[in-house]
Amino acid sequence: MRLPALGTTAVSEDPDSALVGRLRAGDEQAFVELAEKYQGAMLSLARGYVPSIAVAEEAVQDAWLGVLRGIGRFEWRSSFRTWLFRIVVNRAVSAGIRERRTVPVDDMEPVVDASQFDAGGGWRVPPEPWTDAADDKVIAAKISARILTAMDDLPPRQREVVTLRDVQGLSSEEVCTVLDLSQANQRVLLHRGRSRLRQVVESEFGSIR
């Protein structure tokens, strides 16, 4: 087996290699398919850096232009989507008012409210069991819908990490590259974000089901 050079993604392993190949060959439809696949995530990512949805849309349009101009020189040093999301962040940062800020790692609130534990740190109010009920497809779909709206209420950095990791399926390394985060900070944000979503689902499960 031929291994890819260090720091490169094997073209054949990239889920977007076929679409990228067609885009390079001048296939307009491939561009539309990539837009259908990624526009939502790009907007959500850009939204965290700019003051309005309109500015986010402009930044994403600008990013697509960057993709078209750069795709001929794209060398698979990362996956296509990592490269794409990185362009979005760069464009959004230029368009935005928010500085790329560091993540406070200390000063973190617990992910489960302290009142749910007794003095020894054991559960006083244990988690309400609902995972068995989530096997039901209808209930699962309702939970997913609630997660989607709850994600809008996450702090931007947490939302970005959860979107890229859990919705888009990027690896932790890819997320760190896109958002310029350390592994430790990426993990803290993921932890906070996922825990918050769990909390929302648990507290509203009675009305969700």
């Binding site: 489960v112 399926g169 689902v201």
Partner: protein, 93 residues
């Protein structure tokens, strides 16, 4: 952060275990801490449910399809593509 002040060798409390869940799922816990976490799961009545909930949250978040491309955005992007192509073609000539 809760959990980090835990001395090695001591048993984990639930309140500390919930803070280790992501590190555990990410494979980022040092070996001794991972062992204590796993030992806690086998002896705790409630933390396995908590971990299962986080796993379900991850799976269901993964089932979300990001918002559809609106027809306006689609038209805008096709316009963008065609203008770019026209510019490229002029550059080649």
């Amino acid at each position: 952060m809760i959990g980090l002040s835990q001395r090695p060798g001591r048993k984990l409390a639930c309140q500390q275990a919930v803070e280790l869940v992501t590190g555990y799922l990410e494979g980022a816990l040092p070996r001794a801490q991972r062992r204590r976490f796993e030992a806690h799961l086998t002896s705790c009545a409630d933390c396995p449910e908590y971990l299962a909930q986080i796993r379900v949250i991850i799976a269901l978040t993964g089932s979300i399809t990001p918002g559809d491309l609106t027809s306006r955005m689609r038209d805008d992007l096709i316009g963008l593509y065609r203008r770019w192509r026209a510019d490229e073609d002029q550059g080649i000539r």
